[in-house]
C-alpha cells in the first residue's frame, strides 16, 4: 500500500476539521474540529515516519496526543465556564477582545 495515501487522508481530515472550526458556532463542535485537525497532523506524522523509515514521526505523534489530551481538559473547562456565565456555548458571543 502506498504510504502517500496516509498523507492524502491527513489532508482530507485536516480540511474537514478546519471547516468545522471555521463554520460551526457550537463550541463543542468546533472543539471536535480541532481534535480532527490534531489527529490529521498525527496521521501525517506517522505517514511521513513510514515514508522515511524512521521512528521520529511516531514519537512526535505521542507527544501530540498528550498535549491534545491536556488541551481538551483546559478547553472543555473554558467552555463550561463560558456556558455558566452566558447560558450559551456559541463561540461568536464572547467578543470582549474587539479592537
Amino acid at each position: 500500500m502506498n504510504p502517500v495515501a496516509f498523507i492524502y487522508l491527513a489532508v482530507v481530515l485536516f480540511s474537514i476539521g478546519s471547516a468545522a472550526v471555521l463554520l460551526r458556532r457550537n463550541a463543542i463542535v468546533a472543539f471536535m474540529g480541532v481534535e480532527l485537525m490534531l489527529n490529521a497532523a498525527n496521521l501525517a506524522f506517522v505517514g511521513f515516519s513510514r515514508i522515511q523509515g524512521t521512528v521520529d514521526g511516531q514519537v512526535l505523534a505521542f507527544f501530540v496526543m498528550i498535549v491534545a489530551a491536556a488541551e481538551v481538559v483546559v478547553g472543555l473547562a473554558i467552555v463550561v465556564a463560558i456556558f455558566r456565565a452566558r447560558e450559551s456555548i456559541s463561540i461568536d458571543d464572547p467578543s470582549e477582545l474587539k479592537g
Partner: protein, 626 residues
C-alpha cells in the same frame, strides 16, 4: 585695614539683604540702615586709603585672597580683591558720592511707600559696584558687572506700575545684555589665549600673545564697555533710564555705574598695549559718542534727558582719553572723578528742582528758579561752571588735559580726535548753559499749581558738599600732578609727547569756544523769551530731539530683521521639526486605526486569519523548497 576691604562689599550687601528680608517692620528705620551701611563702607575705604598713602607707591597694590571659587582641571579662579590706586579711587568715589546720595534720598523718597525697597536696591548697587572695581579677576568683576546691571534694572523700573518705566528698565537690561555677552566672549578668548581669567595671568601673558588675539580681546571688551557706559552703538538705553528716581540717575547713571566701561578699558591697559588698533577704536567710539551726546543734549527739553545726553558725551571724553593709551589713562580717570562730583551734583540739583516743581521735568516750564531755590541754583551753578571747564573749577583741569592729550600723536589722528574734543567742549558749553539758563534764569513759565520752594536740609547739604567738590577737587588733584602720580603704578608712566598745536593755543581755543557756546545760549535762552512749546525746527534739530533716530535705526536694523528671523525659526520649528515628530505619531495612530477592524472580536475570524497565515507560510515554504 587693607586686608579688611572685603567689608566694603559685605556691609552694604548685608544691609541690602536685611532690608529686603525684614519686610514692613523695617520701614521706620530701613533708610537709616541703608545710609549707615554706605557710610561704614566709606569709613573703611577712607582708613584703607590713608593706610595706602603711607606705603611706597610701588607697594600700593594689595591683593586680598578671599576663597577658592572655581576649581576645575584647567580653569581655576579664586575670589580675591585687588586694592590698588585705581580701584581705591573708584572705591572712594563710589562710597563718598554714594553715601551723600543715600542721605539725599532719605528726604527725596520720603513720601514714597517703598522707600525701604529703594534703599535695599541702592545698597545692593553699592556692594556690586565695589565688587566690580575691587575684583582681581575678570570673572569676579563680571559678577559685580552683572550686579550693577541688576541694581540698575531694579532702580530704573522702581516705579514699575508705570508701564513706560518698566519698559525703560527692560530696554536698559536688553541693551546691556549685548555688552555683557561680549564680556563673556572676551573671557572665553582670554581663557583660550592665557589659560586663565584673573588679572595676573592675563596681564603676565599679554606681552607674549599675538596682536590678533589681543585685538580680538580688546574689541570684545570695548563692546562690553559700550553697553555699560552707554557708548555708541549701545547708547540708546541711557536716555530712557532717566525713568528711575533722580538719586538713581545721579548715582548710577551719571557718577558711577556708567563709568564702569572706562574702568574696564583702563584696567585692561596691558591688553590694549599690544593692540593699538583696538585702542584706536576705543578713541573713535569715544569721539563719536561725545559728539552724539552733545548734539542730542542741545535739543532736549526734558531736564533729566538733557543731563543724560551730557553724561553720555562726558563719558565719550573719558573713552577718548582712555583710547589714547598710557598718555590718556590717568586723565580719563581724572575726568571720571571730577565728572562723578559735578554731574552727581547737577542731577541732585535737578532732583531738587523736580521736588519743588511737582515732578515737572520740562525745562520750558521752568525759568527764574534762581530766586525761589537759591541753594539749588548756587550748587547747580558750580556744577555748570565745572562741566564747562571754566578755570579754576574741576572740569577745567580734567577736560583741558584730555583735549591737550587728544592732540598728541602723528598723522590724522590728533587732528580728528583733538578737533572733536575741542568742538565738543564748545557744544558742551552751549547745551549746559541752555539747560542752566532755561531752568534758573529768564522769566517764570510755571503752571498755576507750581509753587517752587527750596528743598530740605537733608537734600541741600549733599548738594553743597558735591558743589564744593565740583569747585575745588580738580585744583587739589591737579596740583603737582598729584592724581597722575597717584595712578602711575597702575597706568604706567607715559612719556608726555608734544601736542601738534602748542598747549597755550589749545587752552585759549577751548576757552574761546566755551565762551561762544555759553554766550550764544545766554542770548537764546537767558535773555530772550523761551516759548512754552518747542518751536518748529530744522531737520537737524528734529533729529537731535529724537536722539538722532537711534531707536528707529535700532528697530529697522536690528529689531525687525531679528523679529523676522525668530518668526521664521518658530515657523520652521513648528512645521519641520515638530511636523516630523508629530507626523510620525499621527501616522502610527492612523495605521492602528486602519488595522483595528481586523480585531473584530470574532473567534472564527481569528481562526480564518490564522489559517490563511499558515497557508501563506506553507506556500512559501513549499515554493522555497524547490
Amino acid at each position: 585695614m587693607l586686608d579688611l576691604t572685603w567689608l566694603l562689599v559685605a556691609v552694604p550687601l548685608g544691609s541690602a539683604f536685611v532690608l529686603l528680608l525684614a519686610g514692613k517692620r523695617a520701614n521706620p528705620w530701613g533708610h537709616w540702615l541703608g545710609v549707615t551701611a554706605s557710610g561704614l563702607s566709606f569709613v573703611v575705604a577712607f582708613i584703607a586709603f590713608i593706610q595706602m598713602l603711607g606705603l611706597d607707591s610701588a607697594e600700593r597694590a594689595h591683593e586680598v585672597h578671599l576663597f577658592s571659587w572655581i576649581s576645575t582641571g584647567e580653569l581655576n579662579v579664586d575670589a580675591g580683591l585687588l586694592v590698588d590706586p585705581l580701584s581705591m579711587t573708584f572705591v572712594l568715589l563710589v562710597t563718598f558720592v554714594g553715601t551723600l546720595i543715600h542721605i539725599y534720598s532719605v528726604a527725596y523718597m520720603e513720601h514714597d511707600v517703598d522707600r525701604r525697597r529703594f534703599f535695599a536696591y541702592l545698597n545692593l548697587f553699592i556692594a556690586a559696584m565695589l565688587l566690580l572695581v575691587l575684583a582681581d579677576s575678570y570673572l569676579l568683576m563680571f559678577f559685580g558687572w552683572e550686579g550693577v546691571g541688576l541694581a540698575s534694572y531694579l532702580l530704573i523700573g522702581f516705579w514699575y506700575h508705570r508701564n513706560e518705566y518698566a519698559t525703560a528698565a527692560n530696554k536698559a537690561f536688553f541693551v546691556n545684555r549685548i555688552g555683557d555677552f561680549s564680556f563673556i566672549i572676551a573671557m572665553g578668548l582670554m581663557f583660550a589665549a592665557f589659560g586663565g581669567v584673573d588679572f595676573k595671568t592675563v596681564f603676565d601673558g599679554s606681552p607674549a600673545a599675538s596682536t590678533a588675539q589681543l585685538t580680538a580681546i580688546g574689541l570684545t571688551l570695548l563692546l562690553a564697555a559700550c553697553g555699560k557706559s552707554a557708548q555708541f552703538p549701545l547708547q540708546s538705553w541711557l536716555g530712557d533710564a532717566m525713568a528711575g528716581p533722580t538719586p538713581v540717575s545721579a548715582l548710577i547713571h551719571a557718577a558711577t555705574m556708567v563709568t564702569a566701561g572706562v574702568y574696564l578699558v583702563v584696567r585692561s591697559a596691558p591688553i590694549y598695549a599690544g593692540a593699538p588698533n583696538a585702542l584706536l577704536v576705543v578713541a573713535l567710539v569715544g569721539a563719536v559718542t561725545l559728539i552724539f551726546g552733545a548734539i542730542v543734549g542741545m535739543a532736549k527739553d526734558d531736564l533729566k534727558k538733557a543731563l543724560a545726553a551730557s553724561t553720555m558725551s562726558q563719558i565719550g571724553y573719558m573713552m577718548l582719553a582712555a583710547g589714547l593709551g598710557p598718555v590718556g589713562y590717568a586723565f580719563a580717570i581724572f575726568h571720571l572723578v571730577t565728572h562723578g562730583f559735578f554731574k552727581a551734583g547737577m542731577f541732585l540739583g535737578a532732583g531738587s528742582v523736580m521736588h519743588g516743581m511737582n515732578d515737572q521735568v520740562d525745562m520750558r516750564r521752568f525759568g527764574a528758579l534762581r530766586t525761589a531755590m537759591v541753594v539749588t541754583w548756587a550748587t547747580f551753578g558750580f556744577g555748570w561752571l565745572a562741566i564747562l571747564g571754566v578755570p579754576p573749577f574741576s572740569g577745567f583741569f580734567s577736560k583741558d588735559k584730555i583735549i591737550e592729550a587728544a592732540f598728541i600723536g602723528e598723522g590724522w589722528q590728533p587732528w580728528v580726535l583733538g578737533l572733536t574734543a575741542l568742538i565738543g567742549a564748545g557744544l558742551t558749553a552751549f547745551y549746559m548753559s541752555r539747560l542752566f539758563f532755561m531752568t534758573f534764569h529768564g522769566k517764570a513759565r510755571w503752571t498755576d499749581e507750581q509753587h517752587p520752594h527750596e528743598s530740605p536740609k537733608l537734600m541741600t547739604v549733599p548738594m553743597i558738599i558735591l558743589a564744593i567738590g565740583s569747585a575745588f577737587l580738580g585744583l587739589i588733584l591737579a596740583t603737582g600732578d598729584r592724581f597722575v602720580n597717584w595712578l602711575a603704578p597702575v597706568t604706567g608712566h607715559a612719556e608726555h609727547g608734544e601736542p601738534v598745536l602748542p598747549a597755550a593755543v589749545l587752552m585759549t581755543a577751548t576757552l574761546v569756544l566755551v565762551a561762544l557756546g555759553a554766550g550764544y545760549a545766554w542770548l537764546k535762552y537767558g535773555r530772550a523769551d523761551v516759548p512754552l512749546t518747542a518751536p518748529a525746527a530744522t531737520l537737524a534739530t528734529i533729529a537731535a530731539r529724537n536722539d538722532l533716530f537711534q531707536d528707529s535705526v535700532n528697530r529697522a536694523v536690528l529689531e525687525r530683521p531679528g523679529t523676522h528671523l525668530t518668526r521664521t525659526l518658530v515657523y520652521a520649528d513648528a512645521a519641520i521639526v515638530d511636523g516630523a515628530v508629530n507626523g510620525t505619531g499621527a501616522g502610527a495612530a492612523k495605521t492602528g486605526e486602519a488595522l483595528k477592524v481586523v480585531q473584530g472580536g470574532k473567534v472564527r475570524a481569528y481562526a480564518l486569519i490564522m489559517l490563511a497565515g499558515v497557508l501563506f507560510a506553507a506556500f512559501f515554504a513549499v515554493l522555497g523548497g524547490k
